[in-house]
Amino acid sequence: MNLDQLLHEWKRDEQFVEQVAAWRVTPARLGQYREIPGSVHQEVRFALEQRGIQSLYSHQAEAWEVAARGQDLVVVTPTASGKTLCYNLPILDQICKNPATRALYIFPTKALAQDQVAELHGLLGHVKTQIQSFTYDGDTPVNARQKIREAGQIVVTNPDMLHSAILPHHTKWLKLFENLRYIVIDETHMYRGVFGSHFANVIRRLLRICEFYGARPQFIMSSATIANPGELAHWLTGREIHVIGESGAPQGERHTILYNPPIVQPQLGLRASSLQTARRLGGRLLREGIATIAFVKTRTQVEVLASYLKSDARERQRGEIVGYRGGYLPHERRRIERGLRAGEITGVVSTNALELGVDIGSLDAAITVGYPGSIASILQQSGRAGRRKGVSLSLVIANASALDQYLMAHPEALLESSPESARIYPDNLLILMDHLKCAAYELPFAADEQFAVETTAELLEYLADARVLHRGRDAKFYWMSDALPSQGVSLRSASQENVVIIDQTDTAHPVVIGETDRFGALTTLHEEAIYLHQSKSYQVERLDLDNGKAFVRRVDCDYYTDAELAVRLQVLDELEVVEQDTAVHRFGEVAVNATPTLFKKIKFDTHENLGWGRIYLPEAELHTTAYWCSFAESSFDFSQDDWESALKGFGHVLKHAGALHCMCAPSDLHATVQVKDPLHGRPSAYVYDAYPGGIGLAERMFRDRDLILRSSFDMIRACACESGCPSCVGPGQVDEGLKDRVLQLLHSLVVDGLSLAERGV
């Protein structure tokens, strides 16, 4: 049965249709074509013809014109719409006209670079002029590097390599920098949050070096659909970027189904688990031989769902179903990607790792299990299906959270609203300081030079006091320490060091099987934790935080573990305050001390609690930014215990509504409460950024608190439960009046008591 037939079957299946919150069909779209412009160099035109390209899509032609005017540009079109030609065409053309021209291609990951290079080489093979294009990454042999630096006209790399190998050694890249005419940034939407903030600083360093060599390269960027591609491109590069947003590529028919799992316990309004539903529907798709990808939210869920699908599959199909997530080692990921492209793997369960454009060939169906936190993520995930012509399916399965249920009740919020904005916060003090050091290593700073912020001079003074920099007699700041600063800075996180996971099942041959960040290690790699990798269980035997190592051993067990953190929060600085009748809103800086306390053992399948254990680990400290709301205790008739649970429920919904609004993962925000805050003695709920120094989320929540509080109010009010459930007010003891108390708190803040919809927003 093919997908088209299966969709027909589902359409006739009453039980299925009953659970469908929305079923949208986007008809197939024809392509918009333009002639290849006459000004294209004849060799390039010939190469295009050899590759079977007789004409351009309209967006490719537009990119050509804008690039020819010398303007920086970003192309925003769906996956598989021929984005790469938008930059390859003007660049190859220019190199044919002037072979001294150099271009730098930056891809977010090594894997992605490899894919695009393969495509580029396919084109280069037909160009008569010898064009040297090389990948410069961690795998490049040392003896080839010299040649690449001298002769590579197109150098393909990734942000990490640029940061740690190219920029600190820019003098060896004289030829490249002196002749650098184009910088290509592919998958621009990937550069958001911490990674994007780091990358913006890497670009600042790159442009600073270009200026030293007298080059002013032009940016040609591409991005998946987000609300603010031009804005993001501007934040990343500091330039005004022309946006090309209209795709001329054809598209097959596409079905989008929002599916709400059936209610299994009417009193509590409990629904079937979204994971079990994904198991059922995904299993069906796979049984019909329909290539399917499922996106879940956590690494643990990847392992759990993958093992479900495997065990449900027919014997011979089991090998075709895999998990794929961050924490797997590169070669393992490459193997899976190859398998997907070759069609040897038909089912894959992933966190959002595959959202990026790694070319995995065409899949027919994409399942999103639980709202991934942003419309843009949904678009990315569903874009994984239907790269070729023909019918494709995007199936969104709601989970029990208030947010998901809210979206099921208002499907238009998902289907019609535009995707969210991607945000970065490149001036995060910690991130900025790291790159300021790297920049000073690369080129001395003149006394009046600005590195993005007005306070540059102050920061440089600080580094000089710390004897990291030396203030010369010429008043310039020079690098002085005998270390290489880029070595201590990882672009992928704001807190630096990672923990590697070592499997010592075979004592004689321990193997590294993955890695995770330090904060994550506290809750996933404590002793006795069950670490899941490729559906196999490992038990953590020892966590050596000093040396960043966790030692694990294969075990056979029927449970996984879930750890809890005890959090202590202290306000360092109040930056802004707004008073209301019953409450005060604040934004500022906080120090959070977190200690993992205990972990629960949870059985697979039934998810019942099998017991618990203590965790003995030192506390971790996080300095970050927070938005918090303090209530007037007297305005509400609550007992101490009432306050505690009400604040927790309030914090829970606020965090989720905040994540929805800020286009971040809920795990990027943390919430905590104090029944009496130490400064003012008032009941307070805090939401703070999960990254050192903050990445602008709490600040945004403070500014947009009206909208966020309103959607929080809606979420709780619209929840089907009677007195509060894990999906609306969060986990924990539920008493009769809890939901009402949380609503009272929210109601007092949402001045007129009307929901967004009622106000027509």
Partner: protein, 417 residues
């Protein structure tokens, strides 16, 4: 309650690193102030007193101290004069082009850190050269970062103008020289071009097997007989320089300059030693050193010298498998097959784990002697040895089959005749 930017940075960095960062210990700061207020000293006066001379350039001035040695001065086993008396032959062959003693520049640096990234600064560049009857070492001091352009300019115009300078260094090919070129790029000066003789590579070949490492210090101790007293370990140089930048008191730099001066002197002694070995003036110390010489002569097509060196290598008390093996291949190339075969026979017997000699022997019997039975026996024996790798086994099988075919043909031929 508002925190200053710097308080913020400090607290943030502490929270991330988990330790306290105290930028500048207060007593240190006082000390610094005191020195500046109480005892006013002029760094220029001090440098002049320490024997530096001031060089004016278009990029400002810089400081250089030149230490002359009478050519009769001894450094370890060698006199500087020995270098002038070298027949340049051996060194020229190592360099790959004719070596004019007068164009030789011995070069070494001290840097503020390891690595050759843009932030590594060589704060001391030393150039050793012969002038009249003196060996001179000019030490260019980057007494603050801003003096670098002047240093680079002065060094070029004093030592590298003629374009055919021959640079002699130790590990300079991968460290000092690329670093200098990088600094020139940083200062927007053109790169220099020189011929380069890096003594690390020949030293490694000659002494790798005899010494625990081929660091210059080891070579000095074991090969050049240079004794250093109270020498500053090179790794402490960066800290001394940073101290100098704070205090501006040249005392702290003297040890660094002395250490560096001795390094440059040792380059001369090492040239003499290597040259003497090549020219046969000095006797090699062990089998591997003879072998290194032999392979050089071999590569330079100096058959006679290669033959002598190979024989020395195999006759040495510590002669090893590799010496015999390389000698046998040399003999084979020279057509002395019988002699080579006798070595292969010995090697095949004594080191059965190494299949190459047996294979050579089999080839010898098959193609030269045409004794197929003997060739067959050797191949079979090799195949039956433990640990033969699959690709090698396949090659041997192939050879075996061919020899068997030939053997069969020979038998048939014998039958007919």
């Amino acid at each position: 309650m508002a925190r200053s930017l710097l308080d913020k940075v400090r607290a943030l960095q502490e929270s991330v690193s988990g330790r306290e960062t105290s930028p500048l210990p207060t007593d240190d700061r006082d000390l610094l102030g005191e020195r500046l207020d109480g005892h006013v000293h002029d760094p220029s006066t001090e440098l002049l007193a320490a024997g530096f001379s001031r060089i004016e350039t278009p990029f400002g001035h810089c400081w250089c101290r030149t230490t002359p040695f009478d050519v009769c001065t001894r450094h370890g086993d060698a006199l500087f004069r020995d270098f002038l008396e070298l027949e340049a032959g051996g060194l020229s062959r190592l360099l790959g082009s004719r070596l004019d003693i007068g164009s030789v520049r011995f070069y070494d640096t001290e840097t503020n850190g390891l690595g050759t990234g843009a932030g590594t600064l060589p704060f001391l560049h030393s150039v050793g050269y012969f002038a009249e009857d003196e060996f001179c070492v000019a030490q260019y001091f980057v007494d603050d970062y801003d003096a670098e352009a002047a240093v680079l300019y002065a060094m070029e115009s004093n030592h590298f103008t003629d374009g055919d300078a021959i640079l002699v260094s130790y590990n300079g090919k991968s460290f000092d020289w690329p670093l200098l070129q990088s600094r020139r790029v940083m200062r927007q000066l053109a790169k220099l071009s020189v011929k380069h003789l890096d003594l690390l590579h020949p030293s490694r070949r000659l002494w790798k097997h005899e010494l625990p490492s081929v660091k210059l210090a080891e070579i000095e101790r074991h090969v050049l007989n240079v004794e250093r007293e109270h020498d500053l370990p090179g790794s402490e140089a960066p800290a001394r320089y940073f101290e100098y930048l704070e205090s501006r008191s040249f005392d702290v730099m003297e040890d660094v300059f002395r250490h560096n001066l001795l390094d440059v002197c040792s380059l001369v002694a090492l040239c003499v030693k290597i040259s003497h070995l090549i020219d046969g003036v000095a006797e090699a110390s062990g089998g591997r050193t003879h072998l290194a010489l032999a392979t050089w002569f071999d590569a330079w097509h100096d058959i006679q010298a290669a033959g002598i060196a190979y024989r020395n290598a195999v006759n040495a008390r510590d002669a090893d498998w590799r010496s015999f093996w390389l000698y046998s291949l040399f003999l084979k190339r020279q057509g002395a097959l019988e002699e080579a075969a006798s070595i292969w026979t010995t090697l095949a017997d004594q080191a059965p784990g190494q299949p190459e000699p047996a294979i050579e022997l089999a080839k010898y019997y098959e193609h030269h002697v045409r004794d197929f039975a003997a060739a067959l026996a050797i191949v079979e024996k090799t195949l039956n040895q433990h640990g033969v790798s699959p690709p090698l086994a396949a090659a041997l099988e192939y050879r075996l089959a061919r020899i068997q075919r030939k053997l069969a043909q020979q038998c048939k031929g014998a039958g007919w005749s």
